[in-house]
Symmetry: C2
Subunit: 343 residues, 2 copies
């Protein structure tokens, strides 16, 4: 592959002049020399080696993204928004899938070794260990960030999970539901805990049951949602024996799980919404095409993604900027998965 020296030789100038032309500085170049250089660049189809440039200049124009999965439509839509914003600013996205925590740590290391300019962490389980590290590039987390000592060291973008979850539960209560189960998320990250907290808070607010027998943790997948449903609504569910009645509604922490919840309800012979009402969280496109369409709390996914990217790029430019926390809120999208409980 042609190098800068080749171009310089053909143009009859020194390598420095080639850089001057291509980078628009820092020194002026005569029109003649410029023309010869550009011709040589054309002839060789020359492009600067980004590796060498990065080694020299200290910037890779690459951003790392650590994401739990791309199969979950919420994460997929988020990744799409982030990539779009980065593309616009001339940055490349390096992606690691962080199914499990060990993998997340390995990927984090790898990204730092590769000197990415910044990192976006989605639902990170190893943020604590990150913050302990000496030297990391700027980081933005898509999820709430809570530091032990209250001081924030990274920026974050997220919805108000507690309030938005409470709102979803309130919607169910408004239709007359009291015994409402909660399909919780799998990971020890704030977003998962907060959605349970929002459910519990809202149940407590009207004196409705909020015990652990009504909570089932599950993976953020359809299968996870199905399992949780069997645990909560199946014949020998603890929720049923404790309350001597089957929950009439479920608050589900993600659309991905809700797909499996619908499936499991069908298997159990329960009709949605006649026998069981469902409200889920995320508001992805996929929620519109289920049977029945899901009533779901729609997160502003595009905004979350573009904001995360923009915050990060700002931090890359000005490393000693104050970390920010940007909070959005969700909107209830009415599907057809909620009805009044059978009386």
């Amino acid at each position: 592959m042609a190098t800068r020296a080749d171009v310089a030789a053909m143009a009859g100038v020194s390598p420095a002049v080639v850089s001057y032309v291509l980078n628009g500085g820092p020194r002026p170049v005569s029109a003649e020399a410029r023309a010869r250089v550009l011709a040589a660049v054309e002839a060789f189809d020359y492009r600067p080696n980004a590796i060498a440039s990065a080694l020299r200049g200290g910037s890779t124009r690459a951003i790392g993204l650590l994401i739990p999965s791309t199969v979950n439509p919420y994460f997929a839509e988020l990744a799409d928004a982030i990539e779009g914003e980065l593309y616009t600013s001339g940055n490349l996205l390096s992606v690691g899938i962080t199914d499990d925590a060990a993998r997340e740590r390995v990927h984090l290391r790898s990204l730092i070794d590769r000197r990415v300019d910044g990192i976006i962490l989605i639902s990170s389980r190893s943020l604590a260990s990150v913050e302990r590290r000496r030297e990391t590039p700027p980081i933005v987390v898509v999820d709430r960030v809570e530091s032990a000592d209250g001081s924030r060291t990274v920026s974050s973008v997220h919805v108000d999970n507690v309030a938005d979850s409470a709102y979803a539960v309130e919607h169910l209560q408004g239709w007359g539901h009291r015994l409402i189960g909660c399909v919780a998320g799998p990971w020890p990250v704030p977003a998962c805990g907060e959605r349970v907290r929002g459910w519990r808070q809202q149940q407590d607010a009207i004196g409705a049951p909020s015990g652990d027998e009504l909570v089932a943790h599950a993976e953020f997948t359809a299968d996870g949602g199905a399992e949780a449903t069997y645990a909560l609504l199946g014949a020998d569910a603890r929720a049923i024996s404790v309350h001597d009645a089957r929950p009439t509604a479920l608050f589900v922490s993600s659309d991905a799980q809700a797909h499996g919840v619908l499936h499991a309800c069908a298997v159990l012979g329960l009709r949605v919404p006649e026998d069981v009402s469902i409200v889920s969280f995320d508001g992805t496109q996929s929620a519109r095409f289920t049977n029945p369409p899901l009533t779901t709390m729609r997160q502003p996914i595009q905004s979350l993604g573009t904001t995360a990217a923009r915050l990060l790029l700002e931090a890359v430019q000005q490393p000693d900027l104050e970390p920010k926390a940007v909070v959005f809120h969700s909107n209830l999208v009415l599907g057809a998965s909620v009805a009044a409980p059978a009386s």
Copy 2:
């Protein structure tokens, strides 16, 4: 950040010895020196700078992936499989989303500039221009590859789109359908054309209509599928005026489009499968949770992804290996979107 020189200084050895220890060669190192080096590495939390290593060694251990979208579940599942395989082999994935062809070209350039070890192209629209380039890293395409002169220069992985599409159409015919519409894909890539060809071939095989009035091209999105449905089944559809009857079934080129097809049918007051039967292509998880569940040709997405990654890694290791074309076939997954036409 600590450099190799720092570690060497602390360990009281030369920088080369640090490399010998960390890289396991190429020269032996005494146990004592090794211990001191490792202690120093530990103390500094030192890791080699991957940028410098790449500049020197010629390998970035990074693979580029160009993908049309992550929101389409077929592409998302494919990306997931590819990332998994690359992670296993210690490679990082750099992703570019190639919504439009211009973007694809920019990304391709960028990946080459960054000296990725190889590139995976999904449904590429600019392969022709790639093949014209002088120096590219190894490339694997997920789609069929057709060179003008018949000689293949890159490897490919794909299903037999013509045969698998024909099979899907045959399934509809088996239920008694004759007037079958085709929702085609949007891009000038082999996979899109071949699915239409499979539909047409199978229609011709039984002397059923296969004219262009029965084909509607559309984006690989739900909205695309909906628009195509209006064009084919709406009140003033050309298909209807030509045949003086409404198509009783649709062959849909992707699950993503099929979601929108279902939606549009509901809007048009057409029941699925009573009024319109549907078979789609891809067989993603998402097809199981629609209303009704989709009957769809399931591509072996995991295998496609891991095979693409493995072929590429082979080519990276042995650049003058013969390009291969690996062909898989799809399986019909029975949902509930097909029934006999109303007589």
